[in-house]
Symmetry: C2
Subunit: 259 residues, 2 copies
């Protein structure tokens, strides 16, 4: 069975790309082959894994807008059992290019889901597909929410966090009732946590009060090794194997596998 998870939060800089890369690498290390997908025109995931699209190679834009087969865009990474579908800056135009071609909102929203289903026909090519979303609730994020079985929401312990969460949960509910009946919030994951501050304790307590078990018990601490790893094109477990970032993302992977 292949599980598709969207890593989403319209709030910027909360650790979506970092979580997608490092959770993917943790699943791979635990024996669950994973494909991570870059849905962000900023292409941060593509850079984090040092992915290079060849001269006539494909990117996610070609899959979504031109209908190219998803499998032909997937590249291997230096990490065993971890592969990735890259993005390039042309993805910034996908929103309007799809809207111009396709007048029906539903047919705009199901493009990624259809590509993944076609690719996964027969024996599933991997255990997990993780979708790294851009910081917005536009068509690219909607495509991810329609394609996904569940959503992981990285969140920082900040004042704006709660407000953004309410809007994201609202979007998940709307996509569920319109196009994807099985979509649900798998959990909120706190990232870049500095346990020493009151603000962190207050926000974590408030979100736990609101959402209960939908908050992962794993807290990913702020660690400069996690921020450095992308400059070497590596997940943090290949850059700092015994560090806090690696341990946290392994713990998060185990929590998700146990659900």
């Amino acid at each position: 069975l292949m599980r598709v998870l969207a890593i989403a939060n319209q709030k910027g800089g909360v650790g979506k790309t970092t979580t997608t890369v490092n959770l993917g690498a943790a699943f791979a290390a635990l024996g669950h082959s994973t494909v991570v997908v870059d849905l962000d025109p900023q292409t941060n995931l593509t850079t984090s894994l040092d992915l290079r699209i060849e001269e006539d190679g494909l990117s996610l834009y070609d899959v979504l807008v031109d209908g190219e087969p998803f499998g032909e865009a997937v590249l291997s990474t230096t990490t065993p059992d971890l592969a990735a579908c890259p993005a390039d800056p042309s993805l910034a135009g996908a929103d309007l290019d799809i809207a111009r071609e396709e007048p029906d909102p539903r047919r705009r929203a199901i493009r990624l889901r259809d590509s993944l289903s076609l690719w996964a026909e027969g024996t599933p090519p991997c255990s997990f597909v993780l979708l790294d979303c851009p910081p917005s609730l536009g068509l690219l994020t909607v495509n991810a929410l329609v394609a996904a079985d569940a959503v992981i929401v990285p969140m920082q312990c900040e004042f704006f966090a709660m407000e953004g969460l309410a809007r994201l949960v609202d979007t998940i509910t709307r996509v569920r009732s319109a196009w994807n009946p099985s979509l649900h919030l798998l959990g909120v994951c706190f990232t870049m946590v500095d346990r020493r501050t009151n603000l962190a304790r207050q926000v974590i307590a408030e979100v736990r009060r609101e959402l209960g078990s939908q908050v992962f018990s794993t807290l990913v601490p702020r660690s400069v090794r996690v921020a450095e790893a992308p400059s070497f094109g590596l997940p943090v477990r290949d850059y700092d194997p015994s560090g806090q970032g690696t341990a946290a993302y392994t713990s998060l992977a185990r929590e998700i596998l146990a659900r």
Copy 2:
């Protein structure tokens, strides 16, 4: 003379809203009345200053899409000489609503500039207008770049920073040649700086090598007081007057006034 500055960076979570609010408050404290504008559908600036739009009050959506007068949307804040134009979630639809009404790309892009010029006719209503941009290079950010005299780019000391900057500078160049000949990069401002890490020193040195004097010498340190202030609806100078955040944003304001 009224100066309009866009606070922009498509990378999420780099401190755009925090810089807009606190730079605005610093200008006001130094005797330069300022209006800050929330161009982000996440409405973080509106929340940061605890702005409440009345029953039949206006927001930026009404100004951009329905052509309401900008001055009628502006609200006062608890800080003297600091006013603000709020946003509400309807702004998320402004992109598509304007595109549906107006086929001409140029006329889509000049809406905010025209609203501000109409409002500022005669004696300028304030010294500075600061435009808080969303984490994208879509129509809302383009409207800000067309309306602005110059751009301030908040940036974290992170690996992805350089890549995002190249794309933003490219967008600034395109907007300048197409619609706004006076647009220029006023400077890059490093935020949430932890001087102890190598990563921070490396990124700062690299950006200084590329951009020289277009990097402000003021570094805004990471400070939990800065992150807490929005939960009280206050700029950091009204919440923690003698703290590092207040000092940094005052120094930044002075640097800009000296240019």
